[in-house]
Each structure stands twice: as structure tokens, then as C-alpha cells.
């Protein structure tokens, strides 16, 4: 296989978006998969690249576990969710013999794998390529940014939850984006409020409003606030689009607003 560069292999991709956080467990992968499904529902062709090598969640969230990766003469073919090929996925999850196998790699090995994901996966023509990242600002992030900078990514969506420990990590992630020249598309505040199914009172499990305040403070767009909804978790675990299954819920409205803002921005 000849030497490849991301800008060649990704030339058919119209919009490249990174999903970042800094903090773990705020819902990056959930946001990535639900955004992808909503974009497909809006008629777009989407690819999802999962560069979380230690904890690859995307295959499970899109009901694609136990699928094989096919190779052709030009590289690896993404795993598609259905024959329409509107949504393709690549993740190390598809390459493990056993899903319980841990990927215990030091940085240099992770870097090489991520570079291979960016140069050897034949996405073809896509409207959107969403890149889901692990928490932190380390090898994976440096390698992804180094390799996608030349393809003029649209930018990064930062996901946070409202509480202080999450916000301080996201502020660092904002600094990381600014230092590396990645545009910031906006901040999503996830798990913002929980509607008790018993008394329907909305309480702030992790407080609320922190993401919006941070967006104002740092002069970046605020994309929306998604409340905690156990039905969203259920959809994620079943690989379904929450916006499609549950209409007229606060979480669905929030997701739809975020997608609309994204479509307008691009």
C-alpha cells in the first residue's frame, strides 16, 4: 500500500467534526451517535470514527458489535449500519478478537493506530465525519489534531456536564483547541436536569447552567442543554435514534436544536 495522507483519503468528506470533552463520562459517545443518527435522518451521509482505543463505545451504541471489518485494495471499509450505507463506522472495537480484551498500549502504539485509521479507512463521499475521542488531552488528541488539520475540519463540539469538576476540564479542552488552532463549533451541556418520573419535578442532579455560562465566558456558541432522560440511555443501549423514537420530549427537542444549529453553521 503506498504512503497515504489524511488529506487524500478524506477528500470526499465535506465536514469533519471532532467531539471532545476533557472530562470522561459526560456523554461524548452518546452525543456522537445521536448526532450521527439525527444527521442521517436529515438526509446526510455520515461516518463515525471512534478513536477511543481503550474504551470503544461506538459499536455497541449503534448495535454493530461482532461485525467484521472488510478490506479492499484501497484500504479498510467502514462497517455500515444498514444497506443504504448512510452511516459508516470505524472503531478498534471491530478489530478485537474478544470484546472483553483490554487494549493496553503505550502512547506511540496508540498514535500509529490512530494515524492508520485516518489514512487507511476508505470513507468515500461523506457529508459529515464525526470523530469521537477519549477523555483528556493526550496522545490520541494530539495525533488526531496533527493529522486532520490539513483537511480543514469544521471544528470541535465540546461536551460537558454542568458541575464544577467537568467544567474545569472542559476549560482546559477549550485552551487545547485554541492552542492547536481547531475552531470551536460550540458547547453542549449534557445531563442538565432530571425529570423525576414520580412527581415530574425537574431537579438538577449535577446543577445546571454551567455549560452555558462557560460558553458566554469563553465567547463560544452554546449549542444546547440536554436533560438526563433514562429513555435516552435505553435508546443508546439498543442502538436506536432517540429523536426518532421519542418525540416531544425535552431531550429530543434539545438534540434536534443542536443538529439544526450544526446544519446552519455548516
Amino acid at each position: 500500500m503506498s504512503e497515504k495522507e489524511p488529506q487524500n483519503i478524506l477528500k470526499g468528506v465535506q465536514h469533519v467534526i471532532l467531539i471532545l470533552s476533557g472530562k470522561g463520562g459526560v456523554g461524548k459517545s452518546t452525543m456522537t451517535t445521536q448526532l450521527a443518527l439525527s444527521l442521517v435522518q436529515a438526509g446526510k451521509t455520515v461516518g463515525v470514527l471512534d478513536v477511543d482505543l481503550c474504551g470503544p463505545s461506538i459499536p455497541r451504541m449503534l448495535n454493530l458489535e461482532n461485525n467484521d471489518v472488510h478490506q479492499c485494495s484501497e484500504g479498510w471499509i467502514p462497517v455500515y449500519t444498514d444497506p443504504s450505507k448512510k452511516l459508516g463506522v470505524m472503531s478498534i472495537g471491530f478489530l478485537l478478537q474478544n470484546r472483553d480484551d483490554a487494549v493496553i498500549w503505550r502512547g506511540p502504539k496508540k498514535n500509529a493506530m490512530i494515524k492508520q485509521f485516518l489514512t487507511d479507512v476508505v470513507w468515500g463521499s461523506l457529508d459529515y465525519l464525526l470523530i469521537d475521542t477519549p477523555p483528556g488531552t493526550s496522545d490520541e488528541h494530539i495525533t488526531v489534531v496533527e493529522n486532520v488539520k490539513n483537511v480543514n475540519p469544521d471544528g470541535a463540539i465540546l461536551v460537558t456536564t454542568p458541575q464544577g469538576v467537568a467544567l474545569s476540564d472542559v476549560r482546559k479542552e477549550l485552551s487545547f483547541c485554541r492552542k492547536t488552532g481547531i475552531p470551536i463549533l460550540g458547547i453542549v451541556e449534557n445531563m442538565s436536569g432530571f425529570v423525576c418520573p414520580n412527581c415530574t419535578e425537574c431537579t438538577n442532579v449535577f446543577s445546571t447552567g454551567g455549560g452555558e455560562s462557560l460558553a458566554k465566558l469563553c465567547s463560544v456558541p452554546f449549542l444546547g442543554r440536554v436533560p438526563l432522560d433514562p429513555r435516552l440511555t435505553q435508546c443508546v443501549e439498543e442502538g436506536k435514534s432517540f429523536a426518532e423514537v421519542y418525540h416531544d420530549t425535552p431531550a429530543q427537542k434539545a438534540m434536534t436544536d443542536i443538529v439544526d444549529k450544526l446544519l446552519v453553521q455548516s
Partner: protein, 303 residues
């Protein structure tokens, strides 16, 4: 299903071949006895670290052994998955143990997202470098000693954007240079994943016989899937698993006091423990103040 690019025959990328062939192509024998010694290691930034940690003479190991021998029990808090409450569990465990009149320290190994200083209210305090080493900070909560990269950075928004070898060096420095003194418990809070930080700390600690690891998870399937990998990591590294804590099991509504599941919970954590024969330390609802003793009761005997 054929792909547009497939002018020739398609074949399934054999999983073992892809990863083994890929590893051979990359030439990274980090997990084998050839780590640091193979030809492909020349020029790799992680080479020194690998050489030190693969049976070669590690000058730092003897200093780390001396520091750790003054500490009775060393416990790692692991997860694999981010955001499940490792730091919260580590902090609450530390404070609860300190309330039992024991001397406790917490070492925060999460270099990119250090949460422990905020949780233990030591933000803004400066680390003093004494003749005995770095003096850990003291939390107002039960005098728990704390060391974290967050203490060295202050409240700066500047991210720590380091590749693996540099993070590993800092972790070794924490282990070697922090003057904990005599402690009953030293709790290690770790970042999510199974990478440089985890490999470094486990390899350094195995010489000084840690008690083991407490694994923290939330009830959803996606978190349990990652915990399985963490169990696999612990077994591969010969690290004892003290038990598993199921965090955020439910939410107690402050209005009606009804407990509702925030994430789907069908007893997955308990089943996982049964499957792997690992002690189940208990579940903690989203109300840690009243519930931390809930899981301590389960872990008190083993600790």
C-alpha cells in the same frame, strides 16, 4: 455488501492478523520482554521507560520501594470508563477511612483532568519541596494528604497536553519524590483507560505488594463493557481486585424521596461480579453523603 472502492476481491480483515501484523509493522513490543531492546525501539520516545521497566536496572524503583514501605495499604481506584465517579469514590473513601482515625493519603494520577484537589478542597495551596521531598497538601476534610498535578498547576486553564512517556515520567516522580511519611492507606486515583499511566503505576507498585484495585462502574451496559476490559487488565498485570462498586445506581428525588434509575439497571453489576467471582462492594445512589458508608460496610472487612 460491496463497497464502491472494491475493484478487486474483498476479504474480512482477520482480527488477529490486523492487530498482530500491525503491531509488527509498528514494532512496539511494550508488553513483552523485548520492550526497549528491539531494533524498532531505536528513536522511540518511550524506549528509556520500557528499558527501565523490563527487568533492567531502574534507579527509581529502589526509592519508590522505600517510600511505599512506610505505607501499610496501597489501593488503586480504577475504572476504564470515564465519568463513573472514580475520583468521587477515591475522595470519599479517603475521607471515610480518615474518620476511622487512620492516616490516609490520596495520589491523583489523572494528569489531564485532576479532580482530587477540588474534591478535597486543597485548590490554591502550594506544594513545598522540602529536604525530604515534595510535601503533600493537607485537606481540611479529616487531614487527608493529597498530591496531584492539579496542585502543581494551580487553577490554571492551561491543559496538560503531554504524550505518554512524559506522563509516565511525572508519575514516577510522584511515586519517588512525594514525602508521605507513615500512612495507613494510600489511595491512587487514576484516569480512565488502560494506558501509560496505568502501566507505569502498576509496574512500579507490584514490587511493594499493593492491596489491589477497587473498580468503579455505573450500571449501564456500555460502562460494564469497559469494566470487563479493566478486569482483563488487572488479571494480565497480576493486580488483585478488591471488589467492584456500582456508582450512580439510582437517584433519590429530593422532592418526593422516590428512588428512580437514571441509567438502566437490571442488576448488571452484581451479575458481573458473580460471573468473575469478584466481591461486590455495593451500590451507591446519586447521594454520596449518606451512602458512602453503604459500600464501606462491604469493603471494611477486606480492607
Amino acid at each position: 455488501m460491496r463497497h464502491a472502492c472494491a475493484r478487486g476481491p474483498m476479504e474480512i480483515a482477520k482480527k488477529s492478523d490486523v492487530l498482530i501484523g500491525y503491531a509488527a509493522a509498528v514494532g512496539c513490543p511494550a508488553e513483552s520482554c523485548e520492550a526497549g531492546k528491539a531494533g524498532v525501539c531505536q528513536g522511540c520516545p518511550g524506549r528509556e521507560l520500557c528499558l527501565q521497566q523490563q527487568g533492567g536496572v531502574d534507579e527509581d524503583q529502589k526509592y519508590i520501594n522505600v517510600r511505599m514501605k512506610a505505607i501499610k495499604k496501597k489501593i488503586l481506584v480504577l475504572s476504564g470508563k470515564g465519568g463513573v465517579g472514580k475520583s468521587t469514590v477515591a475522595a470519599c473513601l479517603g475521607m471515610a477511612l480518615a474518620k476511622l482515625n487512620t492516616k490516609v493519603g490520596i495520589l491523583d494520577l489523572d494528569i489531564c483532568g485532576p479532580s482530587i484537589p477540588k474534591l478535597l478542597a486543597v485548590e490554591g495551596q502550594a506544594v513545598v519541596n522540602s529536604q525530604y521531598g515534595w510535601t503533600p497538601l493537607r485537606s481540611p476534610h479529616s487531614e487527608v494528604k493529597v498530591m496531584s498535578v492539579g496542585c502543581l498547576l494551580g487553577e490554571s486553564d492551561s491543559p496538560v497536553v503531554w504524550r505518554g512517556p512524559r506522563k509516565s515520567s511525572l508519575i514516577k516522580q510522584f511515586l519517588k519524590d512525594t514525602f508521605w511519611g507513615r500512612l495507613d492507606y494510600l489511595i491512587f486515583d487514576t484516569p480512565p483507560g488502560t494506558s501509560d499511566e496505568h502501566l507505569t503505576v502498576v509496574k512500579m507498585l507490584l514490587n511493594v505488594k499493593p492491596e489491589g484495585a477497587i473498580l468503579v462502574t455505573t450500571p449501564q451496559d456500555v460502562a460494564l463493557a469497559t469494566i470487563r476490559k479493566e478486569i482483563s487488565f488487572c488479571r494480565k498485570m497480576s493486580l488483585n481486585i478488591i471488589g467492584i462498586v456500582g456508582n450512580m445506581a439510582s437517584y433519590v428525588c429530593p422532592c418526593c424521596k422516590e428512588e428512580s434509575p437514571i441509567f438502566t439497571d437490571d442488576g448488571g453489576v452484581q451479575s458481573l461480579c458473580n460471573e468473575y467471582s469478584i466481591p461486590f462492594l455495593g451500590t451507591v445512589p446519586l447521594d454520596p453523603v449518606t451512602s458512602i458508608k453503604h459500600f464501606l460496610t462491604g469493603s471494611g472487612d477486606v480492607l
